[in-house]
Point group: C2
């Protein structure tokens, strides 16, 4: 029997690469997406198509209400990239903690001990819950939180993109056969999944294609 893994999967560039890496490591993949009131819900449509094409065992979309950031509050505006090193307004409080917790619950139900997350240090745009020390703390919590952990199991939070540049991620993805034109990373993509080209996420992605020395497969508004 193959090992199972839960993949946090938004349908963006990073998590699509993450899913391809988990598959290449021979995991049976269970993709987990969230509807958390994000404005860019076209990414969920992309997620559905990509997950189906990747032959995941199951793709679950969980609705959970997260408020208090520019990504979810209609009265806050997603700003253009500033590059000032500050934590941006697109930061969603405790987002990865909520996502990893739900992934952990699903993992326990299906008997998986591996969770994959597309967290990244290099381009992490100042999110505290993408740092390695955070991910290690979550693994410890998982072992204490679960029936399986009490019985001796160890959970692993795999973050294969953690120390890669966006360019390296793109190169790895292309090597694994990903067509990035189907992925949506933009924080304010239109209903066709076309990207704005100027938000944080678009800037990191553009820079990645440039530095990887390959054509940008993204379709822009």
């Amino acid at each position: 029997m193959q090992k199972k893994a839960v993949i946090l999967f938004s349908g963006g560039l990073d998590s699509t690469t993450c899913l391809a890496i988990a598959k290449a490591q021979c995991f049976d993949c269970y993709a987990l997406s969230f509807h958390y009131g994000q404005k860019h819900s076209t990414e969920l449509e992309a997620a559905k198509r990509i997950a189906a094409a990747a032959n995941v065992v199951e793709h679950k979309i969980v609705t959970v209400d997260l408020s208090g950031s520019a990504l979810t509050d209609v009265d806050q505006v997603v700003e253009d990239y500033k590059g000032d090193g500050l934590i941006p307004t697109t930061y969603v409080p405790a987002r990865n903690t909520v996502f990893l917790s739900i992934a952990l619950g699903w993992a326990e139900v299906i008997g998986a001990f591996d969770i994959f997350i597309g967290a990244n240090v290099m381009d992490y745009s100042g999110y505290p819950d993408c740092r390695p020390e955070y991910l290690r703390a979550f693994e410890k919590l998982a072992d204490l939180a679960t029936k399986a952990g009490v019985e001796g199991a160890h959970y692993r939070v795999n973050a294969p993109l953690l120390h890669l540049t966006k360019a390296d991620i793109i190169k790895e993805g292309l090597r694994l056969g990903i067509n990035y034109s189907t992925t949506v990373s933009c924080y304010r993509a239109d209903e066709h999944g076309r990207a704005c080209g100027t938000c944080d996420s678009c800037m990191y992605r553009k820079k990645g294609f440039t530095e990887a020395g390959v054509a940008d497969q993204t379709s822009y508004i």
Copy 2:
């Protein structure tokens, strides 16, 4: 300005006592309940009434999909209390981790650094995510997960019932003026909030009233 606290609040005996304790400690209380597909959703109606009566600043009910336990799967049956020391089928995978994560997100939004949870070791019915070492691990995670934590804040997970017996909890609640007839603890309460009297939760509650030497205020089916 008073300190703020987020209270995990189900409308049951424990969390109602927990809310009263937080109020007695002069916190501005933000009550957080969850609709997670639990069968005993009458507890949410009780939660609304009790939160309103307790003059909380805000009562938020978050919907989140948790599956894989007898509490949420319609094809699993809630069993009578067995007292065999095993983790019961009513265990919801990673439930407290998901709940605390969402509480943490709300805490960060409103500027609270205290979360109250009615976790209990004595009567904890074998749930791994009610143990003190688990709660300490969550505090560490919270400091690493959040913008506020990165900026030096420390989060506290307050579990004032942790080492109390059910009888002690009831005595403390009565001292603080709680009328427990409005609270619902039963895993299979009917639409009027009346308790079955035989599930794990009912057994612990009954025993608590007996040992506290006070009349059981619960209404049974």
